[in-house]
Symmetry: C2
Subunit: 359 residues, 2 copies
Amino acid sequence: MARAVTIRTVAERAGCSIATVSRVINGTARASADAEARVRAAIAELEFRPSEIGRSLKTLRTRTVGVVIPSLTNPVFASSVAGIEAEARVRGHALLVTATDYDPARERAVVDTLVAQSVAGLVLTVADPDSNPTLDMLDAEGIPYVLVYNEPQRIPRPAVTVDNAGATRALTEALIAHGHRRILFIAGRFSSSDRSRLRHQGYLAAMGAAGLSPEPVLELDYIADAPAHRAALESLFGARARPTAMICSNDLLALSIIAAVRAMGLSVPGDMSVAGFDGIAIGRLVTPELSTVDQPTRLMGARAIERLFDMFEGATGRAVEHLPYHLRLTGTLAAAPPDPGAASPLPGPPAGGSCAPAA
Amino acid sequence: MARAVTIRTVAERAGCSIATVSRVINGTARASADAEARVRAAIAELEFRPSEIGRSLKTLRTRTVGVVIPSLTNPVFASSVAGIEAEARVRGHALLVTATDYDPARERAVVDTLVAQSVAGLVLTVADPDSNPTLDMLDAEGIPYVLVYNEPQRIPRPAVTVDNAGATRALTEALIAHGHRRILFIAGRFSSSDRSRLRHQGYLAAMGAAGLSPEPVLELDYIADAPAHRAALESLFGARARPTAMICSNDLLALSIIAAVRAMGLSVPGDMSVAGFDGIAIGRLVTPELSTVDQPTRLMGARAIERLFDMFEGATGRAVEHLPYHLRLTGTLAAAPPDPGAASPLPGPPAGGSCAPAA
DNA sequence: ATTGAGTATGTAACCGTTTACACGGTTCTC
DNA sequence: GAGAACCGTGTAAACGGTTACATACTCAAT
């Protein structure tokens, strides 16, 4: 069957001890040119690959990194994992990937599984980076980790993210500058996303600063389900004056909301401007292009694991690192339609263009 | 630091031998009620989690499955991985995920890495499932694997897929029935995708059966790059009569092509019908909805790892399993516009509706 | 010639589990 | 009441690497 060839087989073939073979493989000490050549030849002939398991057991350190994300089917997470994976591969590490399906209660179980696998460290996106027993446990055990997308507020933890509140505030201000007054914030469940909460805060800040009264937040499940989203919108629109713009706490939600709005017979952005958050690649392919806050998703993953590798080598920084974002104000964002009920529908500035990051 | 607590610590605490602890944990033999209770109490108090590494070294069998896909950022692969992951989690297995970036030359290296990690088996999507030294190696080593999306033609290998040629033939026939005569097939690189090749064959079969001459295939890179795609289309349209419909070998490519077509000032589906293949979720959210061949992507992943688990228990079937697909003929697919150059632009049947699978 | 430093190599312990085997105690059978 | 059968438990040997330590050898300096 598999793997009958061990370091002992190689040693026998090369006519030396297993210690010499190990030293040649790892370069931990020099062997004579002659011995090294024989070992390398034996390895090649036998197609020997040292077992990571044997190595790990002795060193109590694997070359494996655990990844925990809410879902693989949301491109924003898939993209960060792609960045993590590429960087890990270059550094000779493998990735154990698990999803929590947006369920905070599942975080502990999947992390336990990964810890049992003796991962060298973890990269995670969790529901709440502040009050989080799972992260506390990792701290207590001394297992290094870096958060992605999460933005801890009270407890210093290593994280790579953007300024979620600031970016959403800037985005909201842009909508206001386009003449929008009734702006609805549609959020993924607050209980499963600190980003959602922080972005909502940015929205509230912008609305308050402009002297506008925020609409009650519409909290929806993450599952892109256009019919359900349409139903939610319809009941909402029946109850109060229809907003002229919507900010969705993430791009996938925005795309689903756009589909729902159109299914109601409204045009985007003619009747309704819609903006998202994340900058998923698909957003640039749809027509009109999705207005959003563009985060460097792939880079954020890559940067996170880079910091994790630094921690393997002793780094202890727990800074929340903010990468620059970029407002993409196009396509689904237009000036507010003239409001028959309001006195002065301010003409918004021309759509399009972009703003520099405030990071 | 981490993990000072081993099975020996537990044994000491419970006042028994490590063998008894192991037996309680694994239920491989019965312990007295008294001993079992003490062991369980000790495990709980010490928060003991048996090391997967120690276990694996002894049993030479991990609870880990390797996954190899071309890319994480193509939702069609992310979706199958989501299915694999969910099913693996239920069965107590972890997932080592790696991407080849569509480079067949990289397949061997990533599989070698996974084999060195002593994975129990693999789920892969490769460039060429027939002539593939990496898969030959897995066969030789007796390491179980199941392919997803791949559809081996000559060599029997375990696979979960759809009838790629048949589905594309049916899709092409639907376009022909809508009055299209000049139908262009746009493919991802043949060298990195057997699906692409098989789907093209289905297209050729349908065109041939209808007595139509196929257009030369347009082979493009997988990276969604609307400007590059637009340039390719413009040079093509300059050289010959513009097609009225395009079939793209996958949905992501189709979305990019639609963006390029629109950037050229053409309307979809007014001037140009476009269809994809895969059934990614985003395709239902864009306007108009993307016409495509809907594969049960998540289920395909789940089914693949289910077969892998069967193989762990001795199953040896190497069947290529075809799951049902579903033509989604909507949105981006319309009747061909009247052709000024042709004599009789047949009126196509009404758009919309769907066909039963031919699987 | 003796010592010391340095180098190449081998021996064996160890990492945390599983499990074959041994052993002592109880219960059953005749 | 002797032996068999069974049961719960412990001891110790793997599994495939890494590495501390010991050893043997070479060479330069005294």
